[in-house]
């Protein structure tokens, strides 16, 4: 399946991926409204770690055999058998954060519920990739080998 891969040597630490992820997961889909006027405040599902010298954006790997899905006590975390996308169904999530503890990539973030990348649910290109100013995020098949 296509996944979002981060290219460390191109990452600028500008964190615009976070901004656009948050916006893509807001009600209004408008940057200013999402940040300033929406409640609950939408959460970003991609996180840039590091500083200007070396930085990298982390997001869900949508694993073949996701530990988070196995560990989820309410069945909120599901992997779509067709698309392979791992999603946290917010109506079922109780925010116990078991998924966060078992995720080997640290790609889940805590909040009222667990927040994680859903690959923008069927968008051709996820918002983070589309808006990365330096093409440091790519959305491709088998990127880990490249």
């Amino acid at each position: 399946m296509k996944r979002v891969y981060a290219v460390e040597k191109l990452c600028l630490n500008c964190k615009l991926c976070e901004v656009y992820c948050k916006t893509a997961h807001s009600k209004s889909k408008n940057v200013i409204k999402a940040y300033k006027y929406e409640t609950p405040v939408p959460e970003s599902r991609i996180f840039v770690e590091g500083d200007n010298t070396a930085s990298l954006a982390f997001s869900c790997r949508h694993c073949e055999h996701p530990a988070c899905v196995e560990a989820c006590i309410t069945g909120a975390m599901v992997k779509d058998p067709e698309t392979g996308i791992v999603t946290n169904v917010k109506e079922r999530c109780i925010g116990c954060m078991t998924c966060l503890l078992v995720c080997p990539y640290g790609a889940i973030r805590p909040g009222h519920i667990a927040y994680k990348c859903d690959l923008c649910q069927g968008e051709t290109t996820p918002a983070c990739v589309a808006n990365c100013p330096n093409h440091a995020l790519v959305y491709i098949e088998g990127g880990s080998e490249k």
């Binding site: 040597k9 600028l12 500008c14 010298t53 330096n134």
Partner: protein
Amino acid sequence: MLEYLMPEYKVIRDKDRCIECGACARQCSNEVHKIEEDGSLSADEVKCVNCQRCVCLCPTRAISIQKYENNFRENANWTDQSMKEIFKQAATGGILLSAMGNPQPYPIYWDKMLLNASQVTNPSIDPLREPMETRTILGRKPDSVEFDENGRITTEIPPGVTIDVPIMFSAMSFGSISLNAQKSLAMAAKELNTFYNTGEGGMHQDLFPYADHSIVQVASGRFGVHKEYLERGQIIEIKIGQGAKPGIGGHLPGEKVNSEVSKTRMIPEGSDAISPAPHHDIYSIEDLRQLIYSLKEATGYKKPVAVKIAAVHNSAAIASGIVRAGADIVVMDGYRGGSGATPTRIRDNVGIPIELALAAVDQRLRDEGIRNQISLVIAGSIRNSADIVKAIALGADAVYVASAALIAMGCHMCRTCNTGKCNWGIATQRDDLVKRLNPEIMSKRVVNLIHAWDHEIQEMLGGMGINSIDSLRGNRLMLRGIGLSEKELEILGIKHAGE
């Protein structure tokens, strides 16, 4: 000491739009923007150079940079600029440094020349329907051509190079610009089938795959020059002068000489790279001839040798000497041409407009019957395709562009290359800044620009009823001056509009 200099710019942040994401603060290498402890943003405007990086990166377009409105008492003689320069020198005691080409309001002759178009008596050509040739061959052309009975050329043709567009990328060394910027130009040159120029600083190994599209430069410091380097280039260019700083050498400060630059230039890490003002082995045309032939000898007479000079008062006579010294290409760089760092006084006061130098040189070489012995390439602020068409009509074979290519890569002409803190990753060696310039993206943008210009050149040629760039070369009847004096028209060798 009391600071007399006020900031040049104001950073305006629209609080209604700012989402405090902090991208501006993380991107500004001049440390203008700062994230305060409470998460809000502030700006130290004194440091702002107006490079527009924060403006472009801001996801909500909350930032604008404006002129700092603070006027000294009006005086046509003691302008704000001249007073500020005195304040600066009074505070530091140093010579003033600046970057890029001459920004002073001298006449731009490109804008005072108009092109012709066909009407009725000769048909114009639609480049979308009919073939149009912008391919150019650079190098010495034989005085005459002889054929055998089968029509095959028997004359030995001197080495030449073919480019698909009459546009090349001028010399910018690794050191003055980043490796990623050089790589972008090299990739673009390959895609466009033209040339980029390594500048004086050797060729980094990452550029070896683009060697077939390289011009290698030999300048007064001879940095990075060795036999393999010369062999890798398709043209060897001897740099005598640069338009932005005629008569002045170069100085790459030691802090920019990191391990990669040091390896490529073949100098110790951290040492200043000083290119002397003259070549210490060239004090005459005869000496230049020796260097030209040493380089030809070293490369088996297989490559054209170019000589680059700044456009100065006696360019025509100098160019004639260069041709007679055995060069295959003469390059002339006008005072609008860029530089990574140059003394302000030199940049603003030395040299002449490239348009006048070009017309004078082309005419002189024609008069002496030696124009065919060289190709004439000009540089020094080609801003658009019309400038190129006018240059070729004035007699140029091809043009070099650099500033325009850098602008395509994000340069906003803040003219502070000399600080080494280029936020666009162009004129810097800082790893965190260099990586901002992704060669994959930027080479594409440069290719787009040149493709667009090539289309426009074809449109203009077609309008004139010409289907080949060769038919335009030196065709000054296609030009008319507007608002020019008799003397200017005489030098340019063109008639006034209406004549």
